[in-house]
């Protein structure tokens, strides 16, 4: 219980640190009013806009305002859309969640089973081919994979649409691109974990008792190998968040990543902060869940230090 509480506290602390970081970075920017006003606007008009947007206050006051309002989920009005920034971001969230959930699920299943296969066949052609694929998967830049997938599946074969949102056909290519690196990493850690478990005493005992293979593999091997893999999934969720900006931009997927990219191009601070905070809070939450799952999976970690 104490452990769970301390994990939750850590997560909240991370959120605070994140807000602070985002604030100081965004306020280092130039004056956004220059970009928002038409050419030839008078200094008085610029000043009026600055006051309207709250940019005339001291940095300290602006920071306090950000913290105070962020707790209420208010990141201010989007400069560009003239609507609450959080609203702009949140209405794009379902699309991002759909994409990320599919990529995570696909990557976990594929990665763990690939890792299992690699560990069960430590040599031979299958191992060579699979480990080669995993190595290339790790080195492939997400944007390049996206382009090659578009080129092959959309331009040459006309199988799948290259952009936009719609049925399952639309989500397939972006999810594959986003999940590739993740899958390769999961495969690697699964392989090394499973290989460690395979030679342990309890697994030999399982075989000796004459248990069926699926019981030994799932209950004895995979269950014990699972905790580090779950931790890894949490850590990789952060990498995936970065990848989503690129994948969503390429595939014109109307998610949070794309909105962040567009907001950066337009120097729309409130949307940038809201977007990055929302995504990061999501990542922190996923990490928290992964921690909690680990506590449940591995009783040894439950002892308080």
């Amino acid at each position: 219980m104490q452990r769970i509480a301390s994990r939750i506290f850590d997560a909240l602390f991370s959120v605070w640190a994140l807000l602070t970081l985002v604030f100081f970075v965004t306020r280092m920017l130039g004056d956004p009013t220059v970009l928002l006003l038409p050419l030839g606007a008078s200094p008085e008009e610029a000043e009026a806009l600055r006051i309207h947007l709250g940019l005339n206050h001291s940095l300290g006051l602006q920071y306090w305002n950000l913290l105070r309002t962020a707790v209420h989920g208010d990141f201010g009005q989007s400069f560009l859309f003239a609507r609450p920034a959080l609203q702009v971001v949140l209405e794009r969230l379902p699309a991002t969640l759909e994409l990320a959930a599919l990529a995570l699920a696909l990557g976990t299943v594929l990665g763990v089973s690939t890792g299992f296969l690699l560990a069960l066949h430590p040599r031979g052609w299958l191992h060579r081919v699979l480990s080669g694929v995993v190595l290339v998967g790790q080195a492939t830049p997400v944007f390049w994979l996206s382009l090659v997938l578009i080129l092959v599946a959309s331009v040459w074969l006309h199988l799948l649409p290259s952009s936009g949102i719609g049925g399952w056909k639309h989500v397939l290519l972006p999810a594959l691109s986003l999940g590739c690196f993740f899958t390769a990493q999961i495969a690697r850690i699964s392989e090394s974990r499973v290989r460690e478990e395979l030679v342990r005493q309890h697994v030999r005992m399982g075989w000796a008792k004459g248990l069926p293979a699926h019981v030994v593999y799932l209950r004895y091997v995979l269950w014990n190998a699972a905790a580090p893999i779950v931790t890894m999934i949490g850590l990789l969720a952060g990498e995936m968040a970065g990848g989503s900006v690129i994948v969503e931009t390429i595939f014109a997927w109307p998610g949070v990543g794309r909105v962040i990219y567009q907001a950066i191009e337009n120097q729309d601070y409130p949307v940038v902060s809201a977007g990055i905070v929302v995504v990061s809070v999501l990542v922190i939450a996923i990490n928290l869940c992964a921690d909690l799952v680990c506590l449940w999976l591995d009783p040894r970690t439950r002892r308080t230090a």
Binding site: D10, A11, F13, S14, A17, L18, L21, V22, V25, T26, M28, L29, R128, S131, V134, L135, V136, Q138, A139, T140, P141, V142, F143, W144, L147, V148, I150, L151, V155, Q185, A187, R188, I189, E191, S192, R195, P228, M232, L235, G238, E239, A241, G242, G243, V245, I246, T249, I250, I260, Y261, I264, V272, I276, V279, S280, V283, I284, N287, R303, A305
Partner: protein
């Protein structure tokens, strides 16, 4: 306290094995060869008999690979892709190397001093490390570069900012393992100061693990730099950057696939070579007692 130590040793093996895995086979030589060839070509690029990377020739736009003296074809402005790739390699390789080394320097010193000194400093450092680990670093990098503007210096600083964490974690854990060992105790016994022990005895002993991690980090940073420049946050035009070349090429996918695919292959091969090198280093140092 004891439990934390055990936990972090576990974390070291975890980190290294998760970065390299046991996949990969014996590609170290291949990696070094690839990387050496690329680095040599990049360094020598100005003296090689190549087309001018900035020469625009609209009559020669979209020349396919292996045509009219353009080994890898030309782009939308008729510029030679091979010479642009090599010029881009100078930038990307330098940025990745510099930021990995900077990350190593910061993380190594911070982490090992935290492990050696313990106490408040250690708790502070580890808390910072935890925070950095839970924040998506790519988001942070996009934000910082978008705000500060894309220059080589900014890229190096941002990438180092995202990578010092790993060096810090591993160097701290290694230090915790090492500080009870005889050579450290002996150094203290003959009257070496803590600073001296840290800089003359601990840090040199950390080299193997730090170097391995640096190679693995360099491959990650290369990918990140490519992603940033893909978003227009890397080297600024007309200077060629691999990610940017690829981004420009995607508009011409249907007419000239090589414009986008060639830079992608370059990134992939480079990252692959650095990863293989990292794996080889790890194996080399693991075999030593």
């Amino acid at each position: 306290m004891m439990q934390r130590v055990e936990g972090s040793e576990f974390a070291v093996q975890e980190e290294i094995s998760r970065l390299t895995g046991s996949v990969g086979g014996s590609g170290g030589a291949l990696g070094i060869l690839l990387l050496a060839a690329l680095a040599l070509a990049a360094v020598l690029a100005p003296w090689l008999p190549l087309a001018n990377p900035f020469h625009i020739d609209l009559y020669a736009r979209f020349t396919p690979p292996f045509h009219a003296g353009h080994l890898l074809g030309t782009d939308a402005l008729g510029r030679d892709i091979l010479s642009r790739l090599l010029l881009g390699a100078r930038f990307s390789l330098f940025v990745a190397l510099a930021s990995a080394l900077l990350g190593l320097a910061i993380g190594g010193i911070v982490g090992s001093s935290a492990g050696y000194a313990g106490g408040l400093w250690e708790r502070l450092v580890m808390r910072l490390v935890d925070i950095f680990q839970s924040i998506p670093v790519m988001m942070l990098a996009i934000l910082v570069i978008a705000v500060l503007g894309a220059s080589q210096m900014h890229l190096i600083l941002v990438l180092a900012l995202t990578s010092w964490v790993r060096f810090a974690r591993i160097s701290r854990a290694e230090t915790l393992k090492m500080r009870r060992q005889t050579f450290i105790l002996a150094a203290r016994a003959i009257g070496a100061s803590r600073m001296r022990v840290l800089f003359y005895h601990l840090l040199p002993a950390l080299w193997p693990s730090m170097l391995t991690l640096a190679a693995l980090e360099a491959s990650r940073l290369l990918l990140m730099e490519a992603s940033l420049s893909f978003l227009g946050l890397g080297a600024q035009p007309p200077a060629p950057a691999w990610g940017r070349m690829l981004a420009d090429g995607r508009n011409y996918l249907t007419v000239a696939w090589w414009v986008a695919v060639m830079p992608g292959v370059a990134i992939l091969l480079t990252v692959l070579a650095v990863t293989l090198l990292g794996n080889a280093l790890r194996r080399l140092f693991e075999e030593q007692p």
